[in-house]
Amino acid sequence: MTTTEVPTTLIGTDLSDDLASASLALARRFHTGATLWVISPQWEPHAHHVAVEFVHPVLMGKRALPSVALVEPDPVSQARVATRPGDVILAVASADDVQVLDTMRRTPAWGAQTIWIGFGARPPAGSADHVLWVESDDPMVPATGRFVLMYHLLWELTHVCFEQPGVLEVKTEDSTDEVCVTCSDEGRLAEVVEPPTPDSTTALVRTGEGEEPVDVSLVGGVRPNDLLLIHAGAAITRIDTTEGLA
């Protein structure tokens, strides 16, 4: 009977490489004081399982690490307040989860790295720093233990990295996620904290580096939580935050 067959390859070569990279990145972030925030709007228990895994390790002697499940009805607002630059946000969700898509879109402005666990159709390229994906369209996947295996392995490999302190230090030139953009041509993502007062064109925004004032006369009419692309002290364009909404 087909329902009693467990797939023989639960983690293939590509996925194992992705897990390895994600684990090292996560260990490095923990090493510099990160908290791991976990969201799973459709499957809340998975968020709790990830958090308890890191906070209360099943193996004696492994260090307790800060991880919290964010399970309120609006995970975007909850993650926005919780996240500090350097933190990591992990989502367990399908690729069309609008709350997770919105969270992922904003994380560069919050200075957070991201890991996305899911199944079925993959999220758009670049949606998250690390995508750990079960290549199956079976709608029952979330209840078969495959996500549990995935975050168990993430936890296990992260702790393997801690046993090799030499790999935890990241030199700036080796880093791909903390590129200095001060003088480059790139724009930086920013989220509006305080819109301008009526007699001003300066808004206070939040970027991966912290809060800063920017001129918004080019984009106009900004509201709190709007996403902007900023360059050389000015907002140059507004980012569509409804993308991906059906």
């Binding site: 329902t3 009693t4 067959e5 467990v6 797939p7 023989t8 390859t9 639960l10 983690i11 293939g12 070569t13 996925l15 194992s16 490489d17 897990l19 390895a20 990279s21 684990s23 090292l24 499957w43 809340e44 228990p45 998975h46 709790h48 399982h49 308890v52 895994e53 209360h56 099943v58 709608p139 029952m140 979330p142 209840a143 078969t144 233990g145 549990v148 295996l149 168990h152 392995l153 296990e156 490999l157 393997v160 990295c161 090799q164 030499g166 790999v167 230090e169 080796d174």
Partner: protein, 234 residues
């Protein structure tokens, strides 16, 4: 071979020692992930094969209770409490098939902390069984050791009250596997808490599948009987 490699390091001074370490580590991590996943898959398959007959018996008994208005309570501690919640969701909010009433007894923090504080942690689930249950209901407890006191107490209370009692255990099965208060015990033979939990998920999913098949068969029989006897199936 490794001796050769070691002796050629000085020829490549531009390669950072740490960079080599990182590449080697990533290779090791990936291989480790695949190895552990294979162990998990084999253990899941072996568990399903070992318990297929008993899973079928438990699933049929559950389906019968749901047909008579029974509800399902699931419970566990820590990671197993979240797996219990996933299992409850599978029954009450399935992507396909018939939904039946089910919930995790760890879900309400007001109830859990009130009981833990006032009467003791070992009673957090059994007191809820006393409050909620009727004889037609079903209790499923998940424990990787098979020994958690709060679970054992709740299973005993449940059995005492006529519920169908099911235990998911690990290691050697603990007291769950020998208790007369547990109608069906599925022990995953592993020493790894992670691998046990992964097999628990698979066993729970199999149990749900059997209940669904059984429920579909029951519904089809009822409808066939109804169409043979105009005027109703009663």
């Amino acid at each position: 071979m490794s001796e050769l490699n070691q002796n050629t390091d000085f020829l490549y001074p531009f390669i950072e020692g740490t960079e080599t370490d990182v590449d080697a580590l990533l290779t090791d991590l990936a291989a480790s992930a695949r190895g552990k996943a294979e162990v998990s898959a084999r253990l899941q398959q072996a568990s399903l094969e070992e318990y297929e007959e008993d899973l079928r018996a438990a699933g049929i008994a559950m389906s019968d209770r749901f047909a008579r208005g029974g509800r399902l309570y699931t419970f566990g501690n820590g990671g197993s409490s979240t797996d219990a919640a996933t299992l409850a969701s599978l029954f009450c909010r399935p992507v396909r098939g018939r939904a039946v009433p089910a919930w995790s007894l760890a879900a309400d923090q007001a109830v859990v902390t009130a009981l833990g504080n006032d009467v003791g942690f070992e009673l957090i689930f059994s007191r809820q069984v006393i409050a909620h249950s009727r004889p037609v209901d079903v209790a499923i407890a998940l424990s990787t050791s098979g020994n958690s006191d709060d679970l054992i107490r709740a299973l005993s209370e449940a059995k005492h009250r006529g519920l169908l009692t099911i235990g998911f255990a690990g290691h050697e099965g603990g007291s769950m596997s020998t208790s007369e208060d547990v109608d069906h015990c599925f022990t995953v033979h592993s020493q790894s808490i992670h691998r046990i939990q992964e097999s628990h998920a698979r066993i729970g999913f199999r149990l749900w599948s059997i209940v669904q098949e059984e429920t579909e068969r029951r519904v089809a029989d009822l409808m066939a009987a109804g169409s043979r006897a105009p005027g109703g199936i009663r």
